[in-house]
């Protein structure tokens, strides 16, 4: 507890005076039952609290399995996963871990439990036995935070994909999670829904300091993150800021990931002999660099 009496772990410092890591994965290996090859192979990574990280990779690269390790839906065969200071293999901490690190899944339809939006948002806190009046308060707050208050009494099937994903995010906020893990949340959405979801998670990260782990195969989405991890064949093959990762052309070619459009333009122009710095990656930066070099 800090001086203001806040018990939120994000305010808590460890004995050495450093801030605690939100998620720490140490040398983890995980194989699904019946499989011979591991889905996650000796992966180590750390997500600091309040950080927005993206995990990039193709289908089958092990990024979704990594997500399941992060909130104790699966436990590693080797190595350890620590979420907000709690190890996921300690079974008595299971519900605390899942309340701390909420998860949004790819299919917006298959994760909504109740037939009314506000009842679905209440599902999480109901499960951990929060008092009714407190659940009501949290649900109203969570729906307001994702801009879905007007839809509180609607039936989920009448909402758009983007709205459903925002309801799913509200369901996690109602659990007062400080970490949100999103497993390809935009893969089944149209461009508008994708923007709604991305705007929501960026705002939650920026304004409320919520740690975001965004699993995706869209490079444009990864470009929004503070740090990017690239997975390939169950292994972590690259990590760094989006600027660093998108500058590594060999790695991108090897993993078959398509860089965002400005980076592709920059690469093409460099190949044609135009001298551009290798780390420009936003539309504005690339335009500016091109103008300067002409």
């Amino acid at each position: 507890m800090d001086k203001s009496g806040n018990v939120g772990y994000n305010k808590t410092k460890t004995k050495t005076g450093e801030f605690m890591d939100a998620i720490r994965i140490e040398n983890c290996t995980f194989t699904y039952e019946g499989d011979t090859l591991p889905a996650v192979d000796h992966v180590s990574l750390t997500v600091r609290e309040g950080e927005f990280v993206a995990i990039l990779g193709h289908n089958g690269s092990g990024k979704s399995s990594l997500a399941k390790l992060m909130n104790a839906l699966e436990t590693p065969d080797e190595g350890t996963v620590t979420v907000a200071g709690m190890r996921t293999d300690e079974t008595d901490k299971l519900w605390q871990i899942r309340a701390e690190a909420g998860m949004v899944f790819q299919n917006p339809d298959n994760q909504i439990v109740a037939a009314i939006v506000e009842d679905d948002v209440a599902f999480g806190p109901e499960n951990i036995g929060v008092k009714p009046a407190e659940i009501r308060r949290r649900v109203d707050e969570a729906l307001a935070a994702v801009g879905m208050s007007a839809y509180a009494k609607h039936a989920p099937h009448t909402l758009s994909g983007g709205q459903k994903q925002r309801v799913a995010i509200a369901g996690i906020l109602a659990l007062q999670s400080r970490i949100i893990i999103l497993d390809e949340p935009t893969a089944m959405l149209d461009p508008l829904g994708r923007r709604e979801v991305l705007d929501t998670i960026r705002r939650l990260n920026r304004d409320d300091g919520i740690t975001i782990v965004l699993i995706t195969h869209f490079m444009e989405e990864a470009a929004l993150a503070d740090r990017v991890f690239v997975m390939e064949d169950a292994r972590l093959v690259a990590e760094g800021t989006p600027r660093e990762v998108f500058a590594d052309r060999d790695m991108l070619r090897r993993t078959g990931l398509t860089p965002p459009n400005p980076v592709r333009l920059r690469n093409c122009l460099t190949d044609e002999g135009l001298a551009l710095p290798a780390d420009a990656f936003t539309d504005e930066e690339v335009i500016e660099e091109i103008c300067r070099s002409l």
Partner: protein, 283 residues
């Protein structure tokens, strides 16, 4: 015209605002009362009760009557059976093998009216209570059954999920149907057997898809700390209000009338009315 039986009509009437638990309990007691009574006074009391309820529900008399439609056949069938196959009482009409007696007429009227009361009364429950509230109320009412290890919470959760996924599975059916049509499947022509066979390529993918949804949902529920009914709370609490008290009292009056009637307290009135209808004095 579509039947309204089992449908919910949104509204803010007195009946809509009542505690769903009270509505369920009163409906059950009402059904018992309908079966218990056999006299005109009893029917009059219950009719007055149900008419008042229909008026207060503001869903419209016609809407409630339309709920009778799918059960019209059963009503007519039982009426006819009672009319023709009753051999007691005085013969009123006799032709070929058909013999209609006054007791038969009374019985037929009684049965058909009883069914009408039964259906309109229970239809009012579903017309004024949405399925979510109904499920919630059932879970709470059945809670004591937990003592004999009846899985109340699990049953309620299954009902909630089933209700939630009806539209999702409908969309899925539509999607699969279109996909199969695009591959040349024909769902519309041919006899009953051919059409039933044509459903196979629809049902199998639908089943597979239902299992996939179930597995996704189970994972999502676990991720949100679901671990059964143990230690679970609910956001929406039900509280009995003044409305429920009034409804309960109104029903008590009706029930008292029915019970007194059954004990023979109103026999004189009943006999007087019957005397008017059948001057012969058969019953």
């Amino acid at each position: 015209m579509r039947s309204t039986f089992g449908q919910y009509i949104p509204g803010a009437s007195v009946l809509h605002r009542m505690d769903p638990r009270v509505k369920i309990v009163l409906t059950v007691l009402y059904v018992v009362a309908v079966f218990l009574t056999g006299s005109l006074i009893g029917y009059a009391a219950l009719t007055a009760f149900v008419l008042t309820a229909i008026f207060l529900s503001r869903v419209g008399f016609g809407t409630v009557m339309r709920a009778l439609k799918p059960l019209l056949f059963i009503i007519i069938f039982t009426t006819v059976i009672n009319l023709f196959f009753n051999s007691t009482g005085n013969t009123v009409l006799s032709w070929w093998i058909i013999r209609i007696t006054d007791a038969g007429i009374i019985n037929a009227l009684r049965i058909s009216y009883r069914l009408t009361l039964l259906i309109t009364g229970t239809a009012l429950l579903t017309l004024t209570t949405n399925t979510v509230d109904l499920t919630d109320a059932l879970e709470r009412l059945l809670r004591p059954m937990k003592l004999i290890r009846f899985p109340v919470h699990e049953l309620a959760m299954m009902m909630t999920i089933a209700l939630r996924f009806i539209p999702t599975l409908m969309e899925e059916t539509d999607r699969i149907m279109k996909a199969q049509k695009a591959r040349g499947a024909d769902f519309e022509t041919g006899g009953a057997l051919k059409r039933a066979k044509a459903m196979v390529p629809l049902l199998i993918p639908l089943f597979v898809s239902a299992f996939r949804i179930a597995s996704d949902l189970a994972l999502a529920m676990e991720a949100r700390c679901y671990h059964g009914g143990e230690g679970r709370t609910r956001m929406k609490t039900l509280r009995l209000g003044r409305l429920d008290l009034w409804a309960g009292m109104a029903f008590c009056v009706v029930a008292a009338a029915v019970v007194c009637d059954q004990c023979g307290l109103f026999a004189f009135a009943d006999n007087a009315v019957r005397g008017l209808i059948f001057p012969g004095g058969a019953l």
